[in-house]
Structures are given as C-alpha cells and as structure tokens.
C-alpha cells in the first residue's frame, strides 16, 4: 500500500506522500521537525494539534488540519492521525485501504511527557517505525527522575550565583524543559529560535512559563544567575557574555553514553529524549500487533534483525529522516531533536 520511493513514502491508491523529502503535490506530515516537514509541497495535511507549529516553521502554504482520529479520505484511502507523544502535535499516521491497515510512526516516545499527548498504540498489519535509539544500551529513567535532577542542578547553579544554561533542541525538548522549570518562572530566558515557537504555542492556547529575550538592555541583576535555554552551544553565542559566570548542561538521549557526555555535554549531560528507548520501541511494535515492520532512521539494521529473531517480518528502509545507520551526535546530518 505504501512504496518507498526517492521522494519518500508514497501511497499510490491515495496519491499522497508521507513526510516526503522532495517536493510533491500532496503531503501528509507527522510532525514539524525539519527532516519530516520540508517546504515546497503543494498541500499539507497534518494533525490539527500540530498545525500552528508547522505554520510557524514553514510559513505560507496550503494547510489542512484533522482532529485526532478524525478520518480524512483520499480516493477511498482512509487517513487518520493519532498522537505519537514525540513533541506537541506530533502524530502517527494510520492509513486504511480495502481492509489493510498501515501505521507510519513518524517519531515517537512511549512515556507521557505531560505536554505532547500520550502515545496511542494503533493496531495495524504493517508498522513503519523509527529506530533512533534502537540499541538496548538506551533505556531511559522515568521523566520525574530526570526532571528532579535537572531542577536540582539548576538550583545548585543559581544558589552559587551562576547562570544555568540548558542546551536542548528548540522544538520539543525546550518545551519539556519549560514545563519542568515551572518553579523558576520569571527567571527563564531563551534563544530566539525558542521564543518564536513559544509565540506560536501561546497563540494556540498552550500554557508555559514566561520566556524572555536576553539582550544588553536586560537589567544586569536579571541577567546574573538566570536560566538560559538554547539550541546552540552557549559558548558560540554573544549571550554567553551577558549572563555572568555560567555552567552548561546538554539535554539529549545521546548523553546516555559517557563518551558523548564528555565530548558534547558541556559541564553536565542530562539524558532526556523525545524518542522511545529500546524498551519503548519493543513495546510499541508489540502493541500494534503488526506482523510486518519496516524500520527507518536510526539503528535500523540492529532493530530489524532483533525483530526478525523474535518472530516478526522486519525490513530496514533507507529514508531521508535523521541520518543513516548509527545516527550520531552532532554530525551535520544527525537527527537534531534526539
């Protein structure tokens, strides 16, 4: 029902592509990250919950939003969106045609982060899954534990008169950090890329702590011992000179591995991801009851081999998502929101 073409995942019966990486006439979009939602398509169909963020990223395009589970038909193909828990508004796409059901996961995480919607297991015959963290060394701690660690670290920095810089992807991780840092409302500054997203979310009715722009005009007593959230390494920003002494921490699933933490983590690395860990991937596949699984971006060879060994029919697929096998930290084409 879906073919893997050079433009992306193509549904011939419905004549649409899902998250295409080359311009097409009709695109169905799982979520607004740049490797899934690219500019230049004729028509964009996505979950209504993800519309405002998508619009803020891609500007003027032809959009159509659908509520969760609301069917949309294309030439008799039934399309519906189901929360993937990845970021706010991120969806899995369910496609049904003549009794056959496929689900394309986009990106997902199975733990409820409290703001992105709860990952909904959808029964299907064929499941297309991501595999960003498809190795058993990637097993996350519960969010409450990680949030406590982050808050404790931030408090410790502020108590010692230092600013706390958190480096995290602007769409997804930054919103979770804002959610975790509610007790610090009023002291939080953010990079411009984050402010733009926050504006779109606020207009959409989302409630987050206030995020302020940090400039030379910001009063000095507010700049010192503040919290600053940024997608770019702070030492590369002019802001680093405005916030007094600081310590930085990187928030990413890759921080699980010590080598990455020491190389990329700044002063501290927090293991916080918007993707499913190994157990999450295994559980998600099982919950779909799918007999056939296509494994895309991440550790697709490892994860598909494992699925084959536990009795499923699994195949690896090369896509334009994330990067190739062993998507890793900070290579130019690495999955940015990991």
């Amino acid at each position: 029902m879906i073919r893997f073409t050079e433009h992306g995942l193509y549904c011939e019966a419905g004549d649409f592509h899902i998250d295409p990486w080359r311009p097409v006439r009709s695109a169905v979009i799982t979520h607004a990250h740049s490797d899934h939602a690219r500019p230049g398509h004729g028509h964009y169909l996505c979950a209504r919950a993800g519309l405002s963020v998508l619009r803020s990223r891609l500007g003027a395009q032809t959009y159509e939003g659908a509520d969760w589970s609301e069917p949309v038909y294309r030439n008799g193909v039934r399309i519906s969106f189901h929360p993937s828990g990845h970021i706010i508004g991120a969806a899995q796409v369910r496609i049904e045609y003549r009794g056959e059901v496929w689900v394309v996961s986009g990106d997902y995480k199975t733990e409820d982060d409290g703001i992105s919607g709860y990952f909904e297991p959808v029964k299907c015959h064929t499941f297309v899954t991501e595999s960003t963290f498809g190795l058993p060394v990637y097993q996350w701690q519960p969010q409450t534990v990680v949030y406590d660690e982050i808050r404790n670290w931030v408090s410790a920095q502020l108590d010692q008169g230092r600013s706390a810089v958190l480096q995290a992807y602007s769409l997804g991780k930054s919103q979770r950090l804002l959610d975790a840092l509610r007790p610090f409302d009023g002291r939080i500054f953010a990079h411009g890329a984050i402010l733009q997203i926050q504006e779109a979310l606020r207009a959409d009715g989302h409630d987050f702590p206030q995020t302020k722009r940090l400039t030379e005009a910001t009063p000095a007593e507010q700049r010192k011992a503040c919290i600053f959230i940024t997608p770019a390494p702070v030492e590369t920003l002019k802001t680093s000179r405005l916030i007094g002494p600081w310590r930085s921490a990187r928030c990413s699933g890759w921080m699980q591995v010590r080598g990455n933490r020491r190389r990329e983590g700044g002063d501290k690395g927090f293991v916080l991801s918007d993707h499913a860990d190994w157990a999450g991937l295994c559980a998600a596949v099982k919950a779909t009851s799918a007999q056939r699984v296509f494994v895309t971006h991440g550790f697709q060879s490892v994860f598909s081999r494992y699925l084959n060994e536990i009795g499923l029919e699994a195949h690896e697929v090369q896509t334009g998502f994330g990067s190739e096998e062993e998507t890793e930290v900070q290579t130019e084409n690495a999955h940015p929101d990991a």
Binding site: L135, P136, V137, Y138, Q139, W140, Q141, E149, N152, Q256, V257, R258, G259, N260, R262, R263, D267, K268, V271, F299, V302, R305, Y306, E309, S323, E324, E325, E326, E328, V329, Q330, T331, E332, N333
Partner: protein, 559 residues
C-alpha cells in the same frame, strides 16, 4: 533505567560502609569537571574523608597500578544473554557503539539497585582478588550480587575494576598535588613517599603519606624530572653559556638503582623492569653502592645506539631467548646522577652532578653503560646547525639543560627542554577506521593509512592523533557514509581522504606489511587539497629508510 548518573544525596562522613559509593562518586565528579583546580579540590576532599583502607587502593589506582582482567568478554556476554535476554550479537553491537566494555555492561544490565552497596573499595578489591581462584560460575554469582546493589555509575566503576581497564582523566601529578595539600608538604616529598613497589592490600596509606611506617625501601626510585618541548627557537632561553646540550635518545626512560647490594631497574611508568635487562648485570658490579642513575634504556650494540624498533622486539617478552638477547642487545645511556655514595644529589647543580657522572661512567668502562655525549656550541645559531646531525646519529634531537639547575620532580617548565627534530612526513590515504575510546568512544578516530605501491595500496601506519575535534567529526561522518566492509570493530573505508602523516623515526621491520616501521606516527594535517592519486609511494618511504634508517650505527663512541 540504567543511565550512568550518580545519586547526588549527601554522604555521611567517616563511615567505612559507604566507601565504594564515595569512590564511585569521586570518579563521576572528576569526569564532570575539566578544571584542574576543581579536580584537585575533589581529590583533596576525598583523601581527607575516605576510609583509611581505601586510600591506598585509590592512590594505587590513580598512579597507574595495573589491574588484572578477571573475566573474558565472551563470558560476560554469555551472562547478559542468560540474565537479561540480550543475544550475544546484540551485546557486540552495543559494545561497538559504546566503545567501552565496562560501560556497555553497566548500561545493558538494567537491574538498578538502590545505589547503596555495602562495603568499601577495599572490600570490592578483595572480592576481585578472590575471583582469581573462582570458577566462572562462582564469579557470576559474585558479579550479579555486586550489580544488584549498585546504581549505573557505581556499576560502571566496578566493571572498570573487573575488566582491568581502570583509567580516569587524572594525572599522577594532580593526585600528588592534592595529597601535598592534605598532608601539608611539598609535592616532591609526596611523590617520593609513594614511589616504588608497595601493596595496596597491606599498605597503611596514611602512614606512608606522612612518611612513617614504611621502612626505607632500597629499591625506591626518585620521581622523574621531565622536560618541556622548546617552543619555537631556543634563543628565548637566554645566554647560551648558561646551558648544556646533549643528544636526545629514544628508548625507555629509566632509573637504575644499587643500594646495599639491592639492584633494581625502574621505568618512568614506575614499572619494575630489573628482570628484563639481564645484560646490565655485566656492569652493575662495577658501580659503587648507593648509586642512582637516570637515563635511557636503549637498544645498543658495542656502545652504539640502535633504533627503537629493536628495543620494541624485547618489550613485553616474558622469556628472553639467547637469540633475542643477541639480536636485540640493550644498554643504558646515562644522563644524570641522582644518588652517589648513598647521598641524594638532587639539590646539587646539573653541572656538579654531570661531572661526577662522567667520572663514574668512565671508571666503569663498559660499552653497555654510556654517558650521553655533550653537544658543544657557542651560540644558538651553531646549536641549530648541530641539531641537523641528530637523525644521522640515530638521535631524536637535542636536550637543553640549565647548568645550575637542581633535579626537580615531574614535568616542570624552565630548566630542562627537549628540542626534537622536525618529523619526517609522507602523504597517505586512510583505508581503515575504528572507533576510539574514552572521550572518543563512539566516534571513528583511529585510522590506518596506506601508501601507493604500483597499483596496490600498502598499509604502513596507524595514527590516532593530530586532528581537531571538528575534523574528527567530519572524518567520522565520512567513515559512516563510506564504510565498505565490517571486520569486527574495524571498517574498511573507500580510499579517498588524504592526510600528511608525520613520524620521528624509520626502520626496517619484518612485522609490518610494508617492511618498514615508523616511530610515533601522527596526522600532521588533512590534505583536503589532494586526491588519492597524489599520495606518496612505498618507494618514497624506502628512500627515507635508506637515508636515515640505518642511523643507529652512525653514532660515535660516547664515553
């Protein structure tokens, strides 16, 4: 659940039961800071409050004491498969990705304890020692029991001790500085107190560090004084008349010690190597009691230095055959005298020490014990000219020492300088890549390079250093896109990236595919301007070998 993060609740002081926790916490904290001052603080705090019997172990581990590996990797993989349902191939994939065995095990074993293992470091070290006598099954019980109480970070440290790969980003020098602060004395004093051979299982570290309790050990070496490289030209050092120059030799830095009939040979890594060099027996009897010589252990025939590659054939051999002793004879190139007639000479000037040394060596009069030759010069310009002779003599360059300087401990700026030759270079293409370890685990940073030989490529050197972090990331990305085949952790790579490889020495070798071994190869730059058809050939390398390779035999008598 198995993230390597430590619990951060405060630790109670003084009790021994939390000793392991405290040690694991120290390792984690040291890893979380790059600042030398903070590291010293952490170490000082640890030594002030750690259980006494843990201090000796910590000291031993931090100053490079080697651990024996207790378990085969295959056995560990089998247990993970049995205990956690992780197939062995998946363990292998995980290990390749993480790049560190101990960490992989800690991450894969998802059974997180409460992070309060009962017992101190000393307890676990005893457990590891006891494992030598255990069956694999018994070892498994021990490991599982230990893991069940530990959090991810503690498990990581335990596994490091278990797999014998314990290394932290802390130099012995830093530990010595921290201890000097704790015991309120000079770093050089601490360095000497902890030098030599002692057993952490029985040593009272506190007494040792206070300079008590340990009878004066006859074998104990002095802390080595290490030189800094000259930056640019030596002209900035001041007036040439204040300086002494000699050839720099490539061997193993060592001290030979004779006290009350006890004879010992130490390497700079504080490894006792007495047994490895039986030929020293023939001249040591001519030394007076109470002598400590500092110098270079080198391959040497009839008083003439041989290339380092000859010495390499002997290092690591446990049994020295008569043939090996004949093919690779070893001698000692002395360049300093630290103790004479039982008197510590380190506070005398270099010139005074040197003059006693020269007399001593000539009175021994044995070709296996040489004194490094003085290089005379009137001004820095003439020294620059003389340095050019170094390669022909089989030397690495020059040592420049301040005549009125005392013998210090550790690497110090100011009195001893090394001025090495510019390295030789060739342009080569990368053909294999492998992931690095530690800070570079998870990145392809270890490369193998090849030269052209007709239509073929011939592998000639491996190199791990010389690129910036950014360049390593770019090469890493290239490897991932262009890997052709997998051989365990090694990837063959499309031969496309060209690098200039620098090295210090060159010699014939039967153990290398190219028939040539190069010394200290490293990447000097990435030749993004060159393609694979422009690299150097094996013949180019052979020409370098002809010119410089037989160097060892060109040296003059030096005594």
């Amino acid at each position: 659940m198995s993230d390597i993060l430590f619990d951060t609740s405060p630790l109670p002081l003084g009790s021994g039961a939390d000793g392991f926790r405290r040690f694991a916490r120290l390792i984690s904290d040291l890893g979380n800071t790059g600042a030398t001052r903070e590291k010293t603080d952490l170490l000082a705090d640890y030594f002030r409050s750690a259980p006494v019997r843990d201090q000796a172990w910590t000291l031993g581990l931090f100053t490079g004491r080697k651990l024996r590996r207790q378990i085969r990797t295959r056995q560990l993989a089998a247990w993970l498969s049995e205990w956690r349902g992780i197939p062995e191939w998946l363990f292998e994939e995980s290990y390749h990705h993480v790049g560190d065995l101990a960490e992989t095990l800690a991450l894969l074993d998802a059974s997180n304890g409460d992070g309060r293992p009962e017992g101190d470091l000393s307890y676990y070290m005893k457990m590891l020692h006891a494992m030598q006598e255990m069956s694999d099954e018994e070892k498994g019980v021990c490991i599982r029991e230990a893991w069940s109480k530990m959090d991810g970070g503690q498990k990581f440290v335990f596994n490091k001790l278990l797999t014998g790969g314990f290394r932290v980003g802390v130099s012995a020098q830093l530990v010595i500085q921290a201890l000097a602060r704790v015991y309120d004395t000079e770093p050089a004093v601490i360095a000497h107190r902890i030098s030599g051979d002692w057993d952490p299982a029985t040593m009272d570290a506190d007494a040792m560090l206070r300079g008590e309790g340990r009878s004066f050990d006859l074998s104990r070496p002095y802390p080595f004084f290490l030189a800094y490289p000259v930056e640019g030209e030596p002209g900035s050092l001041g007036h040439p008349s204040e300086w002494h120059a000699e050839w720099k030799w490539d061997g193993i830095r060592g001290q030979v010690i004779l006290r009350s009939g006890t004879w010992s040979v130490w390497s700079r890594g504080e490894e006792l190597m007495t047994e490895k060099f039986p030929e020293f027996e023939s001249w040591r009897t001519s030394l007076p009691n109470g002598t400590v010589l500092d110098g270079e252990i080198m391959a040497m025939r009839d008083g003439r230095p041989l290339p380092f590659s000859v010495l390499q054939t002997r290092i690591g051999r446990t049994r020295l055959s008569a043939r090996l002793l004949k093919e690779a004879p070893v001698g000692f190139m002395a360049f300093d005298l630290l103790e004479f007639g039982g008197e510590d000479l380190r506070t005398k000037t270099f010139l005074e020490r040197r003059s006693i040394l020269v007399d001593l060596i000539s009175s021994v009069g044995h070709p296996g014990l040489q004194c490094s030759e003085t290089v005379a010069f009137d001004d820095w310009g003439s020294l620059t000219l003389r340095r050019r002779e170094a390669r022909e003599r089989g030397s690495e360059g020059l040592m420049i020492k301040r005549m009125n300087s005392v013998y210090q401990a550790g690497r110090r700026r100011g009195d001893w300088w090394k001025w090495k030759l510019e390295p030789m270079t060739v342009d080569a293409v990368m053909v294999y890549a492998q992931k690095g370890h530690g800070r570079r685990s998870n990145l392809y940073t270890d490369y193998t390079f090849a030269l052209k030989d007709g239509d073929r490529l011939v592998v000639f050197a491996k190199a791990y250093s010389g690129l910036t972090d950014k360049e390593f990331r770019e090469v890493d990305a290239f490897v991932k896109r262009n890997a052709l085949e997998k051989f365990g952790p090694v990837r063959t790579v499309k031969p496309e990236l060209v690098f200039e490889i620098a090295f210090e020495g060159i010699s014939e070798s039967r153990r290398h595919k190219a028939g040539i071994a190069v010394r200290f190869p490293r990447i000097s730059r990435w030749r993004t301007d060159k393609g694979v058809d422009e690299i150097d050939t094996l013949d180019d390398l052979k020409r370098l070998l002809e010119h410089y390779g037989s160097a060892g035999n060109g040296s003059e008598e030096t005594s």
